[in-house]
Symmetry: D3
Subunit: 286 residues, 6 copies
Amino acid sequence: MFYHVKELQYHAKPEKPDPVYAKKLQEILGGQFGEISVAMQYLFQGWNTRGNGKYKDLLMDTGAEELAHIEMLATMIARLLDGAPEVDLADAAKDPVVAAILGGENPQHTIVSGLGAMPSDSMGNRWTANYIIASGNLLADFRANLNAESQGRLQAVRLYEETDDRGVKDMLSWLIARDTMHQNQWYAAMRELEEKENIVVPSTFPRELQKEEVAYTLFNYSQGNKSAKGRWANGISMDGCGMFNYVEHPVPHGDRPKLRPAPTYVHDTPLAAMRKSDDTPDPDMK
Amino acid sequence: MFYHVKELQYHAKPEKPDPVYAKKLQEILGGQFGEISVAMQYLFQGWNTRGNGKYKDLLMDTGAEELAHIEMLATMIARLLDGAPEVDLADAAKDPVVAAILGGENPQHTIVSGLGAMPSDSMGNRWTANYIIASGNLLADFRANLNAESQGRLQAVRLYEETDDRGVKDMLSWLIARDTMHQNQWYAAMRELEEKENIVVPSTFPRELQKEEVAYTLFNYSQGNKSAKGRWANGISMDGCGMFNYVEHPVPHGDRPKLRPAPTYVHDTPLAAMRKSDDTPDPDMK
Amino acid sequence: MFYHVKELQYHAKPEKPDPVYAKKLQEILGGQFGEISVAMQYLFQGWNTRGNGKYKDLLMDTGAEELAHIEMLATMIARLLDGAPEVDLADAAKDPVVAAILGGENPQHTIVSGLGAMPSDSMGNRWTANYIIASGNLLADFRANLNAESQGRLQAVRLYEETDDRGVKDMLSWLIARDTMHQNQWYAAMRELEEKENIVVPSTFPRELQKEEVAYTLFNYSQGNKSAKGRWANGISMDGCGMFNYVEHPVPHGDRPKLRPAPTYVHDTPLAAMRKSDDTPDPDMK
Amino acid sequence: MFYHVKELQYHAKPEKPDPVYAKKLQEILGGQFGEISVAMQYLFQGWNTRGNGKYKDLLMDTGAEELAHIEMLATMIARLLDGAPEVDLADAAKDPVVAAILGGENPQHTIVSGLGAMPSDSMGNRWTANYIIASGNLLADFRANLNAESQGRLQAVRLYEETDDRGVKDMLSWLIARDTMHQNQWYAAMRELEEKENIVVPSTFPRELQKEEVAYTLFNYSQGNKSAKGRWANGISMDGCGMFNYVEHPVPHGDRPKLRPAPTYVHDTPLAAMRKSDDTPDPDMK
Amino acid sequence: MFYHVKELQYHAKPEKPDPVYAKKLQEILGGQFGEISVAMQYLFQGWNTRGNGKYKDLLMDTGAEELAHIEMLATMIARLLDGAPEVDLADAAKDPVVAAILGGENPQHTIVSGLGAMPSDSMGNRWTANYIIASGNLLADFRANLNAESQGRLQAVRLYEETDDRGVKDMLSWLIARDTMHQNQWYAAMRELEEKENIVVPSTFPRELQKEEVAYTLFNYSQGNKSAKGRWANGISMDGCGMFNYVEHPVPHGDRPKLRPAPTYVHDTPLAAMRKSDDTPDPDMK
Amino acid sequence: MFYHVKELQYHAKPEKPDPVYAKKLQEILGGQFGEISVAMQYLFQGWNTRGNGKYKDLLMDTGAEELAHIEMLATMIARLLDGAPEVDLADAAKDPVVAAILGGENPQHTIVSGLGAMPSDSMGNRWTANYIIASGNLLADFRANLNAESQGRLQAVRLYEETDDRGVKDMLSWLIARDTMHQNQWYAAMRELEEKENIVVPSTFPRELQKEEVAYTLFNYSQGNKSAKGRWANGISMDGCGMFNYVEHPVPHGDRPKLRPAPTYVHDTPLAAMRKSDDTPDPDMK
């Protein structure tokens, strides 16, 4: 159950309107690695966690915080839109800034949301739960989270570079710091489980049931062998269970596949047409 | 540029048809962490990599391999569908197996693809590039890759549990082993960059520009303090740059946000209606 | 900013596992009118509301409650999945219940989420922000909310009919009651604004700028005139500003549109081919 | 069955080309509340209506009209694109209007549709049936329709504000008037059913099966109690069946949920790793 | 502008309910090549056609007919659902037919649409305008149409095979016949334009601006040379403008691409980390 | 199985950066008819082809080539982005070119991909497998392929017109030539199968099972009879099996559909409300 307080976790006030930047800032609100994604991802992971231990608590702590970040960004975007001039093509003739706004704004910020934030990214793609991950396996999911915070901080930093507004930069410097913490925390959680389970997910699948002979092999499927020099092709494997090796000229280990003629009720290309289509009989087709 | 050979990387031949399992197996072909996802993810990362060093080569090696895995799964699914009985509701009266097939098969496997594999997951959602990640920052992306191989191996293992077909299990044991390698290799690549860059992505953003005072703080936004006992709340941070700390009762650091009345041209709720809607004047609305 | 407590708003415990019902119940968690939709819709409306009056407070109160409903449903679904038998096609031969499970379960509940809830609907479509609405105009949005609670309660009631599990029914009877309140509250809010603004949204557009002559006309575009008998075709209009009227045989008020030949740089069908394609010259093409 | 006439319902001829506005106008053709949405929504509701009474007729009348509106907008957009200059970055150096066009146009209007309208919104998102609603319950659906016409008129009015083209404004004044009628008509239909069924959808669910004790309660989940002053928290409920009440400090009515350890075949985090992860034994995990 | 008549183009009455088949039949209503797709495709092509000649008329004739086909299928699906038993897992124990229904039905047909048709395919994917094509070039689009009718008839035929219901088969035999006509008509239209424009779209691009030396070459990128025996690798080209030729061992015609280091403001992997990552200096990185 | 070589199939080097054009060029990389679409389409068709004859070989040859085209475009886009100036609204005041870039660039090219190509189209829509087709029936699929190459070449030609960069034009002239070959080759393959199967897909459905009486009829559902003059309405049908005919005034061949009242468990509008809603009893409702 959730309680809301009206105050923001941190300030979200720009110095001045900037509808073009408002469009860009949508990326970290409603994009693939925006705040909606991390909020929903951590909450779903928390709800699906077994027991009530510290991992579940950590997930719920962080999920609830990310909801506050959605709120900060929604507020910032509305304020970047407030007071922006209404512009049209006739105005552009006189002023390149108007031209830039006309081209660079998100028209839905006026037409659809009435100068409010939208649950979408910087190109207007609506947020989708395709972005999130909750597998029930915490080591796998902590890696998903470490990735999410890495991509998220990277995008926030790039956005930091694209504005001179001190209010926006102030808010981003908060979010960037929180992403530093979140990378650190998921890293710690990941390492803790790796110490118990080793690094390969899932740890509970009996090793002997996989083809051990190719479990530590780098196949060179792309011309050039620079990858042969990496750590991943030399020495003991990262999980300590094998020796890395490199196959410079990989060959197929399977057959050339042959699909049987389809049953007539699916009306694929009739066998007669297929047969006649070759100058010589196809030995694969009985 | 790519060359194709007709032989499979490894065998993909089931003992017998099983259209219900064919539907399930689609998950690791066209699902969020299926083979299309990893193939496209690694190739796009490779194409966007600067220079021509070992990381690019590794990405292209592995991307090309994943294309071969799509092929193996497509072949296996077509064969699981081949020879499956055509069933309808009348038949179900006599045989629970028919009932199970009727319910559990993917009808598009007949109607749309003519007993062939589809570029979609086990619930029929078509594959989407929303699933993939290529940021230009390799440490971020190697984490995405480590996650993808962790989720992917987890799903392959779950599917291994759901069949008794020795042909299917044989193929899965190959794919599971390859996922072991790929987890190891991305882990190695991640660690290598972490040794150079430290763990926080991006490493190039000046630390002093983030709010350092909250860069190592765990805020307890979910009732209960089990998370206070974790590594992430105690001692030196994982990046070695700070001390973790825990705030049991986090308070807001920002104001209660007030959005100004909207300009008339957006036709939001008129100010008069908003004002009158409160019994007392709203001090937030000037 | 949000705080989370670990206790649920209301109990979410089924009597026994039922993976087929778990699949169905996803509809009101992650479907078009599921709890994710209403939570996100009310929160975005709240964040985009001008001022800090009672409407904003009401939106935030209700948005926060809906987050608790997501949590209840996620918990219920995980419990409906827990303890469910692992089944395959061979088992189905012996037991129609197994056949029903094999057909009726969502395979992603095992393969993807590890027996946890998913952010998707009963057919496995991932939740998308296409479902939500926040326009900045509260009268419009309260109507969206009234609709959402109407559709949502309808779906919950249909799901109530589809189970005999007393635990599930107990939880649904809570959610259904809350939907009763929410329909009442949005109805009250809608009526309050209608009393100030009249019923046509937006109220701020000058009436004289619309074509008043067709602002109260029902055009009979579908054969048969049963619709002529409705309130909407007779008497004073609902907004009190006009008289409803009915046009039995509507005629076009516009011209037959003619598009000019495309400029050559778009390489549409060349004019020569278009021209020659008619036996007689086309007077529409100069 | 449908017949088409070549004449438009109303004129759709701009004074001059304006590719930037053409991009914006796509919103009410192929957006969430564009004409495709209302056409498809009313037609599906009509086809799914039981019997052949006046409601079905009204739905089919209006659905057929909305098809004519798609046609008007498609024509208008094609004409706004016709004759627009072909521009590139070199030209922009000389003319801010060119810069505005280059930024503000939809490149697919040239590359994909050859200067024709597209079935997408102003940010290029293709139309999706996620937008539409047809539940089989007409009171619910009339509310969906009232919302759709409210959002749709609001967007048309905002677009009216964003152009000076008299031809465009003339067409919009027609569409805005029609939306006035459609809001009136769905309002009338909604009220008529409410008089028979009362306001809570569905009316056919026995009241005693819902938790009556929370069916008229406003829970204050967001700090501050401005919402306590609303009609929705005081007096008899809108449906006349209860008394509204307000709970200032809502508490949980459910337990802290505990999920059982997952069965081994799903390979979630192993119990051992979960157990050891807490310094003290977790009483929730048996 | 459109007029609707209440009668169907052809009968749509099944002998008996069959909710499993209703789910399957959704494919040709709301799937990739369902009737919504062809209706919207032909109408958008018609609205975007230049002039008012016979091609535009043909497109509007056929688009309007496809609207009638949506209506027939929506009616048929509602009737296949009407009278279907309400079933649950307990019932399945006694009856494999119930098990089949429980597994094979679309739960949204009850929960969401109230026993009505949905705008989605047989796996529940909502219809999307991603499926349709309207390029402004009629020869290209007639090929799209020929394909759509080919895929559509194929799916209708497969569905014909999957039922014994004489009412359903009767309706399908109508739709299949209409698809025969539509394949014939688009074929005729395509051939007519090919006679004027030759076969390569667009015909208006000057041949000398393409690399003529590879305009008729089959590159053998997949091992094995069976494709060398085809018409496409021998003799004069289909457009009569070149000679087909076959390259058994294709080589690259381009360089090994090198991307320059990224500017610092995008925070890609820092050059230092890239450089050090190779044992030897990378000559591609200056 | 696939092997990759680092060299490109053809050069992909622009003369100078142009981020606005980079955004546009995404269309033929990740759009509906971009290179991802054709690569995936041909590969899936190949994997689903029965036997191992020349058609399968041709599909795999071409699918592998299209992977190389993705690579060329990804490289070109990255280079068009490299060296582009970082711009903001303040800069736009001074320079219309900056204004054009600010409006016309894809912000995700900086924020998300770090100056790399994205798997999306020119409006930022991520690629989806909704775009592709693999039916198991080769004649149907060759038509899909002919269409894809027609649309693809058309889009490449339009993009050719929109740039003066000689490097870009050089690469496009290669791709345009390859599309010429691919149109020729699918045309040849289509004609070959048509000679064996005749033109109507699928050829294996017994003609007598379709309603022959409407298999060659053009129904005039759109006012005006220009379409009556076409080849499709006169003479022997294209498949040679019938005579085309034209029905100027088509009438319904089906009944007015009546849906029965819904069972109570779906809670559609209650029959009482429906009945009372008409002034006179509805004869359709028993």
